[in-house]
Symmetry: C2
Subunit: 382 residues, 2 copies
């Protein structure tokens, strides 16, 4: 267990109907003028945005709106949001949506008080020290952005998809109503399940010894997610299964699964290249990448893979563990090969080249992955 510091100040308000409290929490945290950030009309169609507007109106909070945030969100909407905030004197940013919406809201919040180009923080040119306060109303259990300080944005110019992590971007509050996720189709729900499991496993597969508490917590969340998954797929309006999944998704990525140790994140890096090149859904891509990555690294470093198999799936070898993970992903309708993902002829040399251009020549820590290794891992996805 390494030294660490850890702080999750987000106020979580969880349960049926909590979105109607957004006015109250905006007064408390966001100030008098709010930018509402949302996606492509689903929050409008469902009536959620109207609930938000009414609640803000009731507290005399002025708001402006930015909608149309797409999956794998891009910097153009961030620039647009920053401009609106500066022109209108916005005091806080409210995200109404899933990970892409929240990540965009965070980038806007970080960009407004900064004199330079907001992308400086993502490119590593500058370190963020302040941001407008951020609130969220979550509509998809997946990305964990509602409880994290992470934000992933793609630059339209360079096509780089980059993630940053800073406590400055942790939301002040997140309103989590599992009912809002009931209308998600099974495919998107399953993508969310894979994503949250990956957030745990990226932290779990670590060589830092003696992290018994954190290991056990990771395993407990994985076990709970696997237990809830069949129900949310077969019975999408099951409130309790949705609720367990939503809370697991938040805990998966708020940092508690990673304290005191090196994390890996090779699989996320490899998936980001798949998304960038082929436009696949992040969760579906991770479903293909993660078991291939596990297969490769378990040849060199099987101990933790065996522990994962034993404690999460009740099996005895690394090979069985990987099979169980694939079987689980297939059972919820997720692809486990690139062809199942719809990529018949992947350009593996280009994927490898892009990956190491963005992330450096060696990535990950559970197994340090160079270009030769990442080539083999992409091959294992065929």
């Amino acid at each position: 267990m390494d030294n660490f510091s850890f702080c999750t100040p987000t106020e979580y308000v969880f349960g049926r109907g909590v979105e109607s409290q957004v006015g109250e929490y905006s007064v408390k945290y966001l100030g008098t003028k709010v930018l509402i950030v949302s996606g492509n009309n689903s929050a409008e169609r469902s009536g959620l945005l109207n609930v938000v507007r009414q609640s803000l109106n009731a507290r005399s909070i002025i708001y402006v709106e930015l909608n149309g945030i797409n999956p794998n969100p891009t910097d153009d909407k961030v620039y647009e949001g920053i401009k609106i905030c500066r022109e209108k004197g916005v005091t806080g940013v409210l995200a109404v949506g899933g990970g892409s919406v929240i990540d965009t809201a965070k980038a806007i919040a970080g960009g407004v008080p900064y004199a330079g180009d907001f992308w400086d923080f993502w490119s590593g040119k500058s370190v963020m020290v302040e941001a407008l306060p951020i609130g969220t109303i979550l509509t998809i259990a997946a990305a964990g952005s509602e409880g994290s300080g992470n934000s992933v944005i793609t630059s339209l110019k360079t096509r780089q998809k980059i993630s940053i992590r800073t406590n400055v971007l942790r939301p002040k509050f997140s309103l989590l109503n599992p009912e809002l996720t009931m209308t998600l189709p099974p495919y998107q729900t399953a993508c969310g399940i894979v994503d949250m499991m990956a957030h745990i496993m990226e932290r779990y597969f670590s060589n830092t010894p003696d992290c018994e508490v954190t290991d056990r917590m990771c395993e407990s969340l994985l076990t709970a997610i696997i237990a809830s998954a069949p129900t949310v797929i077969s019975d999408p309006e099951n409130y309790q299964a949705r609720a367990n999944l939503m809370w697991a998704g938040t805990m998966a990525h708020n940092g508690v699964c990673g304290v005191g140790r090196a994390e890996d994140w090779t699989s996320h890096g490899m998936e980001h290249e798949l998304s960038a090149l082929y436009g696949v859904a992040h969760g579906a891509g991770l479903s293909v990448v993660f078991s291939a990555w596990l297969s490769y690294v378990s040849k060199f470093n099987p101990a933790k893979v065996e522990q994962f198999g034993r404690r999460v799936f009740g099996v005895h070898t690394a090979g069985e563990a990987i099979n169980e993970l694939k079987k689980f992903n297939s059972s919820i309708g997720m692809p486990v090969t690139l062809s199942e993902l719809g990529i018949a002829s992947p350009d593996i040399p280009l994927l490898v080249s892009n990956l190491h251009k963005t992330k450096g020549s060696i990535i990950g820590s559970y197994y340090p992955t160079n270009a030769e290794a990442s080539y083999e891992i992409y091959q294992l996805m065929l």
Copy 2:
């Protein structure tokens, strides 16, 4: 899973030597004049208080000191601390010690800005809305007060030992160095282990259905504690076992184990009466109380006890689960009967009468415990 709100804003700084950063964190959170609260000389003898003074001096923070806080802390020291803070214009309170020291520091911090008697908050006459900022340097892994909003204080006049819980009292920062716990004798270490396990189990034994995530997290922490316990007892200077135990103790009581459901706390109530009447150590008392309580309630409500046995100890019946818990407690040198605790002839009618006078005629929620039931539970401790 019930609706809930949950916020743990404490900044945890964990690892070797972190106590020397107290000046930096005091500047950030506690202001320019700090009251240092400590216990009976062990922090002085070990040199810890000198490290603290030097670190505060280096940041030009003025401090005053209040020492001599005893286990089962009493209101007299709280009044003394409040008086000092007001006279000296103290801006923040720093606890250097274990649960008793931190609970006292919290009570002082809540009392200073309040015009009435601080005890009003504990007696239920008033609700706390503000407090001076609180920081902690933890020296015992047990009470979890370093990450909670709880404070337990005993009134010398009424002999009532009362616990309150409010987010207002959550520490701003907690510096957690496992090395500081290495000099604790095995008996005190074991008391801490029992206490943190009880904090989890008081939340785990709940009738609220569909709390799979929270159940699994509780079980994971219990499993990790049970795994680390033999090592810290046999090898007190084992850093990694001490580290896992310290972090588990914080997670056990910061609230994450209780979200979304009714909690019980009958065992803590019953133990508080044992401590008040016979002056026993809180953890040792809990060791006797908890298995007796489990034995009694499992007659009426065995399902969760069976789940506990299955998932934590790998056994199949409630009876076996209770036996495993007793065996574990005995293995770390803890008593499992009142006579082993040194109470040969307990005055059970008085314990029952005091318990229900303080806590009301029915206590707990996993099994609603009236005076007849609590009498039988105390009998089971013989």
